[in-house]
Amino acid sequence: MSAHHAIPLKTLLSTTLALVVLTVVTIAVFYLNIPAPFDVVVALFLATFKATLVAMFFMGLYYDEKFNTVVLIFSFLFFFVFIGITLLDTLFRESSISIW
């Protein structure tokens, strides 16, 4: 696959439309008042889906050399390691210790 692939106009426009619709869905879900942990889960799922659309079609990863996608995926893997190791500390502290 060529790195110089011109992304079809139709793809760019439908990606934009999908992103706007998903933004409306995100806000609609917020007003549905879904109970505690699931509201965040749904909101993050929608945000991740939107980010994937941007990365694939606006940033062209769908047409690009696969190694660029690998770089992006690894950045998220390292980010999850960062979250995981930090939470292993902060979620399990003695309640007697003043946090912050």
Binding site: A3, F58, M59, E65, N68, L72, I83, T86
Partner: protein, 216 residues
């Protein structure tokens, strides 16, 4: 050039085999930079996660002070600017010099709209005494650590805002170069690379919007 096959274009540096190889390398370099950007913002997202896990009720209370409508408008504005920057790259790929400039100018305009909306949000909060850290004087949120939420809010949206300002600067530079006819279908690397940066700024906001404005 003992092994010259075909024409070697003037923009190709001597250490690259071809224009395509140079273009791919530049893009890979940009993706590696975006990796560091994700880890940069990642630090702030981790702070957000830690403090939200410690004080879930604070985040619910404090988010009511953020204007959902303005946040939503800004989300759509940034999505629109992502489209126009993608169209600028497309214009370059088809040698449409004037369109490159026009689409970049629309992108700069949308980025400015984003910042103006952010300015009104910030000044409205400053007037109420919603400032980060020790400067916080607002009494409308019944929580002893209300200032912690807004310290995180200002750091995250502020860093994102700085990225928008830098993006505008980059696109002004691209417009000036494009006016001199610097970008053609055989060389438009700076437009492509700036586009990647701009889309990442959009992606960060896509996560910031629900995490800051839509909590309940």
């Amino acid at each position: 050039m003992a092994h010259a096959t075909g024409t070697v274009e003037s923009h190709v540096q001597h250490h690259f085999k071809s224009s395509d190889q140079q273009f791919s390398s530049a893009k890979l370099g940009m993706w590696l930079f975006l990796f560091t950007e994700i880890m940069f913002f990642g630090g702030l997202f981790v702070a957000y996660i830690v403090y939200r896990a410690w004080n879930p009720e604070l985040f619910t209370l404090a988010a009511t002070q953020l204007d959902t409508v303005l946040g939503a408008v800004n989300t759509v504005v940034l999505i629109g600017s992502s489209l126009t920057v993608a169209l600028a790259i497309r214009a370059a790929q088809f040698d449409k010099q004037k369109q490159i400039i026009n689409y970049l100018l629309i992108t700069i305009f949308l980025a400015t709209v984003f910042l103006v909306i952010k300015y009104f949000e910030y000044t409205h909060k400053f007037d109420m005494g919603i400032l980060p850290g020790a400067m916080y004087t607002f009494e409308g949120i019944d929580h002893p650590k209300a200032n912690v939420f807004f310290s995180i809010y200002y750091m995250m949206t502020g860093l994102h805002g700085i990225h928008v300002v830098i993006g505008i600067g980059l696109m002004v530079w691209l417009v000036l170069k494009a006016m001199k006819g610097a970008y053609t279908s055989s060389y438009y690397t700076p437009v492509e690379i700036t586009g990647l940066y701009w889309h990442l700024v959009d992606i960060i906001w896509i996560f910031l919007f629900p995490l800051m404005y839509l909590i309940d």
